[in-house]
């Protein structure tokens, strides 16, 4: 029975890894393809936001979170909205299984992170920081002085 328990645990781990690998594969496939990023300006990070007018959590939670992030970054961040249900080819290409879904895009247009479901402002800010994009308003004033 212990062998079977170990086998079950191994299969659960493999299943989880396959799930993660799927996300990684989607990201790798998208690198350089630029699907849906026609409005993207190189040199600025972006958040690619899959939404729909009928998506309740998008309006209630994701939109305000993105507004918070946008307020911190100003014009240093691009938020590209995609109406998911009107663009099924994009939704399929980006492997979007639920709304809202947000992708973090770096300054070279490469997808670097994904959030399936609502991502709150702190998480989005952390993800932007992780790709080397610090919000200017998060920097301490004396730190700004020392940088200038």
């Amino acid at each position: 029975m212990l062998e079977r328990l170990a086998a079950a645990l191994a299969l659960i781990v493999v299943g989880y890894l396959v799930y993660r690998l799927y996300g990684w594969f989607i990201m790798r496939r998208l690198v350089g393809a630029g699907m849906g990023l026609e409005g993207y300006t190189p040199g600025k990070p972006a958040i690619l936001y899959f939404t729909d007018p009928g998506c309740a959590p998008c309006h209630a939670l994701q939109d305000p979170a993105l507004e918070q992030v946008a307020a911190q970054f100003g014009d240093r961040l691009q938020i590209i909205k995609v109406q998911a249900l009107e663009n099924p080819h994009l939704t399929d290409a980006w492997g979007v299984l639920s709304l809202p879904t947000t992708f973090i895009i770096d300054t070279r247009g490469r997808p670097r992170g994904v959030n399936h479901g609502v991502a709150r402002a702190p998480r989005l800010l952390d993800q932007l920081r992780a790709i080397g994009e610090a919000s200017p308003r998060l920097v301490e004033p004396d730190r700004v002085d020392s940088l200038s």
Binding site: M1, G54, A56, L97, S98, H116
Partner: protein, 160 residues
Amino acid sequence: MATQLKAIDHSAMQTSRAVRMGVLLAAFVVNAPWLAAITGVLMLVGTARGRGDFGFIYRALRRARWISPDLIPDNPEPHRFAMGIGVVFLAGSTLAFLAGLPILGWVLTWVIIGLTALNLFGGFCVGCAVYYWMNRVGLRGFVKAPPPGVIPGQRPSRPD
């Protein structure tokens, strides 16, 4: 086609998924194919009656006030279809065990464990997505379209 949504108790469905996954995992660990077969029978009864396979456990938990309903506007048909797919897999699994093919039997059981886990933890119902794709291609009998603002197969959210 406009879709008439019904208030579906997603709490009941999540409970059924959690119990189903636990029972199928236990069946594998203790090497009890009959447990998987019983789960298949319960799913068959649930599909026929349009109710959850482990609804009796959910009702007991509700009576004990350990769990509360989570009513969300949704289509019941895709969930029923998805359970039907589960029945087919578990029936195949039972036949494989009876035919002396335990590896095939457990592979089919694990497919259901995986799909149930994806639905339980990832909020994505593969069987429902298949139903909605069939609706998209206009297959007869698949009359319900996804609720507004929901990707086919995605668990809908509570309205504002």
